[in-house]
């Protein structure tokens, strides 16, 4: 299914990145974690108690945790946007604000406000406003010099990849020259109790693709990328080369057992990037650490790549599952990998599961060739997303 983009549609490049996550503030902290295979998962006393299966989570260094922080979603998104805009300063300086858009990716926005309202705890007007994701998007756009189109995307755990696609489409459609794509979800009792109810949490911390894996670890992050018309960005900027999406049409909370839906999304992405499977040098997997997801993802990779699967790893043992931020922070990891020609490992993976790709990376290492990367995410509702990025 080839994209029928007009021949003069501009290429889209990544001009800046910003992140706050379980491994610290700033892209530099993510790069260090990638280089050293560090895990940011740790015990957090907020999640002690009978509502929670485990207190091992990926908590970001938010100011005010344990105090009275009532709008963590806004804080995480703002920090990430500040860094991404600083990185892209020269590109953004040449573009009028009316030609800068913003796409927000989130699943729960500022769900902290709902918990506070339900408990009768203090909650500021702004925090209540950000319980809804579209006012959060509007406020972030107004505060960050984006007077162009604003969208708020929420497609479960594929939200980040879809938000990147939407940002690129706004540029290719000619309604923006740059788009701030920001993803955020914060740790909440609401979400951790929900995954506990589904018995989906690994009590010792998630171990993607491990034979003993027992589920995911909730995480939180703010992650932002500045997309820009490639002719306005530095020549060396990493580009979005293609994407594909699909639905399993199978189950609301579980992936298809045979991986056919995700395989369809990957094939659509390859077709859109006009690449054969052998054109991919590295796959950054969704890798939640749940038994069914990782098995399904392994089958999908086998269906597309056969016995010649490129190196594969997953980042959720490093960051936790950051939901609406996951696709964006993991894409930033891919950008760093491409810039450094460095293959990330899979933190917390010890014994690869039977059926996992033979090319699964436990430890990180340098790569002789790393030009094209495939990023995957899947989510509740059977949604699958695949994004290909790389050098020009």
């Amino acid at each position: 299914m080839r994209e029928s983009v007009a021949p003069n549609s501009p290429a889209v490049a990544i001009a800046g990145c910003g992140v706050t996550s379980a491994v610290g503030r700033g892209v530099a902290s993510l790069r260090t974690a990638m280089r050293t295979n560090q895990s940011g998962l740790r015990a957090c006393e907020r999640f002690n108690g009978p509502l929670f299966q485990s207190n091992i989570v990926g908590a970001a260094p938010l100011a005010g945790v344990g105090g009275d922080l009532d709008d963590p979603a806004h804080q995480l998104a703002t920090e990430a946007l500040r860094e991404a805009r600083e990185q892209a300063h020269e590109v953004l300086a040449a573009i009028p604000e009316t030609r800068v858009g913003l796409v927000l990716s989130t699943t729960k926005a500022n769900i902290e406000a709902l918990e506070r309202l339900a408990d009768g705890r203090p909650c500021s007007t702004a925090a209540q406003r950000h319980l809804q994701s579209n006012p959060l998007a509007a406020d972030l756009a107004a505060a960050n010099g984006a007077s162009g189109p604003v969208q708020c995307v929420s497609v479960a755990c594929v939200s980040g990849l879809v938000a990147l696609q939407q940002g690129a489409k706004l540029i290719q459609r000619g309604v923006a020259d740059a788009v701030l794509v920001v993803g955020v979800d914060h740790l909440s009792a609401f979400v951790v109790a929900g995954f506990t109810a589904l018995k989906a949490i690994d009590t010792v911390g998630c171990r993607p693709f491990d034979r003993d894996r027992g589920g995911l670890s909730p995480g939180e992050a703010g992650a932002a990328l500045v997309l820009a018309r490639a002719d306005l960005a530095p020549l060396s900027a990493i580009r979005l080369l293609g994407w594909g999406n699909s639905n399993d049409a199978n189950h609301l909370t579980g992936p298809s057992r045979d991986g056919s839906g995700l395989a369809l999304a990957i094939r659509r992405a390859l077709d859109s990037a006009q690449l054969p499977p052998s054109g991919i040098d590295y796959v950054n997997a969704h890798g939640t650490g749940t038994p069914y997801n990782d098995a399904m993802e392994s089958l999908a990779l086998r269906a597309v790549f056969g016995e010649h699967c490129p190196p594969v790893s997953g980042a959720k043992g490093m960051l936790g599952h950051t939901l609406g931020a996951a696709g964006l922070i993991e894409t930033i990891l891919c950008v760093l990998a491409l810039e450094d020609r460095w293959l990330p490992g899979t933190p917390r993976l010890v014994f690869p599961a039977e059926g996992a790709p033979a090319s699964l990376l436990i430890e990180p290492r340098s790569a002789a060739r790393l030009d094209r990367v495939l990023k995957l995410n899947t989510g509740f509702g059977g949604v699958n997303g695949a994004l290909i990025l790389g050098h020009e």
Binding site: T107, S154, V155, A156, G381, V383
Partner: protein, 191 residues
């Protein structure tokens, strides 16, 4: 075959949900998913003829999933804690999954929290880019009385669906920024 046409349209309310007979699973869905699923059902679309792998779904949930969020969180003190079933519907995009499962639609999906016109415009662009052969644009707005009391909004429970196809004729030709379509969205929103 270069024009996009809306070939089917529907509007449903909570009363329609109460009268619906869509099997036992339907009763287990949250209200937003019930409304959205019923709106698509009322289109009576021939998905076999369209090619189910190439039918996309674009959904706008004007109030996100906040009503279901509130119901789920209000149940946290119950026996066994919060409901795992309800937790699965605390995503604005949950209705997309239900529509895809019922009609076995494997095309691309988009979900927005915001104005109804987002879904229609993006559905059209999915077809124009060649990512989908046809696309459902679904609008859903649910504010239960419990949520309305909490956040001072007006209660609402309605959904609408449009089927967009590349054809020579249909109910309405799609044009970007079309005032008739904007009026249709307003009608859906105000009903």
């Amino acid at each position: 075959m270069n024009s996009l046409f809306i070939t089917a349209a529907s509007l449903v309310s909570e009363a329609d949900v109460r009268a619906a007979r869509l099997g036992s699973r339907f009763g287990r869905l949250d209200l937003a998913s019930q409304l959205a699923l019923l709106a698509v059902e009322k289109l009576a679309a021939d998905f076999d003829g369209l090619g189910r792998e190439r039918v996309g779904i674009c959904l706008t949930a004007a109030a996100g999933s906040l009503s279901t969020d509130a119901a789920y969180w209000n149940g946290r003190a119950g026996v066994g804690g919060p409901s795992p079933t309800l937790f699965a519907y605390t995503l604005p995009s949950a209705a997309i999954g239900e529509i895809a499962i019922r009609h076995r639609l494997m095309g691309p999906n988009l979900c927005f929290v915001g104005h109804e016109s987002d879904a229609l415009s993006e559905a059209a662009h999915l077809i124009l880019r060649g990512e989908a052969a046809a696309c459902l644009a679904v609008f859903c707005h649910v504010v239960t009385p419990a949520l309305a009391a909490m956040i001072q909004w007006s209660p609402a429970a309605r959904a609408g669906a449009l089927l967009l196809q590349r054809l020579d004729t249909g109910l309405h030709r799609w044009r970007e920024n079309d005032r008739d379509i904007a009026a249709m969205c307003s009608l859906l929103s105000a009903r």
